[in-house]
Symmetry: C2
Subunit: 212 residues, 2 copies
DNA sequence: GTGCGATGTATCGGTCCGATACATCGTGGC
DNA sequence: GCCACGATGTATCGGACCGATACATCGCAC
């Protein structure tokens, strides 16, 4: 999962570890707290060893020949390679049970603007299936096994059940939206292009303007 | 976390691994999928080595002296020891950052009927604080950094924000309820008017041995 | 009688987390 | 001047937990 997220972010711009973590937190803040460095750095090393990312030269053309004594050691900027992009495309397109779990789904969803519509639909439906099953499990629990459990546990189940129902409804909306409005998705791939690309797909059905 | 959950369940009745997993899934189904055997068995071993659980004799008092030829080796039933109960009491009472994360909070909450009220309150408030912070992070993201993110990521954040707001409201209710001294919840929900069981924290110390 | 799903115990490799260590840089207080 | 402190930045280690896998027994349907 981390691998997918890192490759996805580095596809937008080269970055060093610290920055990567912040972007990761921004993009995935809704589904997980914050990536640990104990995961991040080893993973970066693994990706580099696999040839999917490389260290970029950090020296800007504005040359100063001063240092070399202090052996400027600091940020290590990584950029994605061609093989890395291939790898990302492969990871983002493949679906499976781990794609439908909480974390897996979240990461995939966060990169939906780089995912083709057929895959998006498959993932949304797989996720819905998964949540529906969890929901049924909780319903059974609250029905049949209720008297075996104490009031706090029941309350926890009830709250979880409500969350499931809510998520299913959310997914239904997204699926309907996906089916009706076709999405161009533009697999960007502006390899050497500008740092900013703007290929926003049509928004997933927004009708709310809420005031807190 | 697993350690706490196992000790908590074995306090209700002796069990073997397979059964433990099912009970774990029933009790924690709202917050995590299903415990893996790759976690469960090593943890059981660890707890046994620490002296908190022991293997129980599986012979029920209704003695038949028949076997011993087939050397019945199969299920291994574990039961909690006195030290284990002490350990559980210590774990359930101590609070900290890991108590407020998704999994930690869920496990603690599931054993709230064995937790004293002051601790319950502390945990609920800590959890609320944590979720409020997550909520503020998402709000900021949706406000300030909105144009940096694509529509799908924004939708993910929006959904996450809503979940946070909902959970804070849920926690508020629980806290208010807790302060007023009432047992947990029961909004309306109509099903089954009757089975009102008392599970406020049973005064100090004795566990109920219930027959499944 | 035989296949098959549920029950049951167990290990292995891998991912990720939390704690910790350490070094640099800019800024504001004294 | 200087120095404390928080942000930036890289890195490792032990441990928790997962997913896949292996294997053995039991009851039951066909």
């Amino acid at each position: 999962m981390l691998e997918l997220a890192i490759l996805g972010l580095l596809q937008e711009a080269p970055m060093h570890g610290y920055e990567l973590r912040k972007e990761l937190t921004a993009k995935l803040g809704a589904i997980r707290a914050a990536i640990s460095y104990g995961s991040l750095y080893p993973t970066l090393r693994r990706l580099q060893a696999a040839g999917w990312i490389t260290e970029a030269d950090e020296t800007p053309a504005t040359a100063e020949e001063v240092p070399a004594l202090t052996s400027r050691r600091g940020r290590v900027v990584y950029e994605i390679t061609a093989e890395g992009k291939e790898r990302f495309a492969q990871l983002i397109a493949q679906t499976g049970p781990e794609t439908y779990g909480d974390t897996g789904f979240g990461v995939h969803f966060a990169f939906f603007s780089r995912t083709d519509q057929a895959t998006r639909l498959r993932i949304l439906e797989g996720r819905r299936r998964t949540i529906e099953e969890r929901r049924e499990g909780l319903r059974d629990m609250l029905g049949r096994a209720a008297e075996r459990l104490d009031a706090y546990t029941l309350e926890l189940q009830r709250h979880g059940l409500e969350a499931c129902e809510r998520e299913v409804r959310w997914l239904e909306e997204l699926i309907a939206n996906e089916r009706s409005g076709r999405a161009p998705t533009v697999p960007d791939d502006g390899t050497a292009g500008g740092p900013r690309q703007d290929n926003n797909p049509p928004p997933p059905g927004e009708t709310r303007t809420e005031r807190p």
